[in-house]
Amino acid sequence: MTMLKEGPTPRIMMQATGVRKSFGALEVLKGIDLAVPHGEVVCLLGQSGSGKSTFLRCINHLERIDFGRIRVDGELIGYTEQNGHLREMHEHEISRQRIHIGMVFQHFNLFPHMTVMQNVIEGPVGVKREKRSDVVEQAQAILKRVGLSEKVNAYPRQLSGGQQQRVAIARALAMRPKLILFDEPTSALDPELVSDVLDVMRDLAESGMTMIVVTHEIAFAREVADRVVFMAGGEIVEQGKPRDVLGNPTHPQTQTFLAKVLV
């Protein structure tokens, strides 16, 4: 567990090196290298099947990788280093690592039998064993920040999709994660509810949260992302400042994709 020192070079919050992953005979990730420094907002773009969601799910070990290494804040994900070899981690050690990595899902995945407040405090109280009264206070502040202080005692099914997704973001934030992964957070929403969620994400980005966002919202990527990464066929084919990649794509795959999305 080596921590990278804060110094002149910014601390790297997520570093992937040569990440490969297959489902059966199908290789969905063919060697991904990516480093995300502290505070950066990275948007992963690409067609369905390009491997971007799979890569995101590898970062918090929801998917096991076949080759390569992933480090979050310097700590190797899924393995412990001991006298010259790596040992695969036990389930509970991986759980401990996931505490630092927030995740927001396409279909929200709130716990339907718990109220909004219970959803948000479940992690800090139940997993991190923090003091309940403190957590409730923080949760109220977070829910206010995402504009849902009126809905503390509602059940998820009583909320709109946009509200549910904002609760899911609050649930991730309550863990005080080092970075948050967003897996197509607005794809399951009605068009008129998308902007509420994007507003919350923009606010998060401005507050300096490290974010890796798989999305189809090109406008959001252009406006909020520090960097866009374009994936095709399990590889990163192009990356850079949104202005450059989105305005003046060089790779033919990026050009066809953007031509389809931007009509």
Binding site: N60, L62, E91, H92, S95, R96, Q97, R98, I99, I101, G102, M103, F105, H107, N109, L110, F111, P112, H113, M114, T115, M117, E122, G123, G126, V127, K128, Q140, S149, E150, K151, V152, N153, A154, Y155, P156, R157, Q158, A168, R171, A172, M175
Partner: protein, 323 residues
Amino acid sequence: MSRQQSDLIGTDIDQTIDLPIKPARHPGRWVAIAFVILLTAMFVHTLFTNPRFEWSVVGHYFASDSILLGVRRTLQLTAIAMLTGAGLGVLLAVMRLSPNPVLSGASWLFVWFFRGSPLLVQLLLWYNLSALFPDITLGIPFIGPDFVHIDANVLISPYVAALLGLGLNEAAYSAEIIRAGIISIDHGQTEAAQSIGMSRGRLLRRVVLPQAMRVIIPPLGNDTINMLKMSALVSTIAVPELLFAAQTIYTRTFETIPLLLVAVIWYLIVVSILSVIQYYIERHFARGSSRNLPLTPLQSLRKILGFGPRGLTSGSDEKGSAS
């Protein structure tokens, strides 16, 4: 409305527009109602006129000490067998779903045996266990000193044999019910719980099982009612439950029918009570699954009678606006 106007927009006024509408006729229903009333009348008539029902005998024994003791023993057997069955069932279901092939295989084998052979045979096997293992010892296998040494005839009393038979059989059935409940929960719930660092145990306790309960409770309630009735089987191994108590009396007095009626009435009473309890448990676990909970029977009765706004605006929604 003028004729020319409707001509202008290309429609004609329907000739039947002013005729009143009456509901459809159902002559068949009246025939069915008459038939059912006739059968009911015949049944009630025979209840009151056939002296062989011996209602006075039914009344005499209905609340007698030995029958009440039998009812209590039946309830006790049902409760203990269901609790051990459901508890073991959770364990077996989790084992079956485990990625560890040894655990999942062991669970499969257990269910295969206890679901695959008749309950009556299992009860007889447990009852006669001492014929197979006269001594039961606790110690280090094959080599060791034995710490505890018990005569099987003492340890496996009829009551213990009954509990083993009913409980283990129920475990096999409830394992399948609980497994079905667990796999009915969307995998996204597991991933969300993992993403906030939940352990497997907590995930099961806090996220999966509470939601699976909605799927598990109805068939498990069914099993409870079934268990109550199946417990009559243990009368064959001389456990003094309700049926055995009735049998003990009628082998002495030859009042067979009235005492069987006593047993049937008691079974019906207990099953009815269990059904009401099941309704309320289901309602409890419906939390969050629909926007409004269904009314309880009491609440809907109030609604029909038309008093009390108290019970109607389902209060749980209102009490929680935060600030």
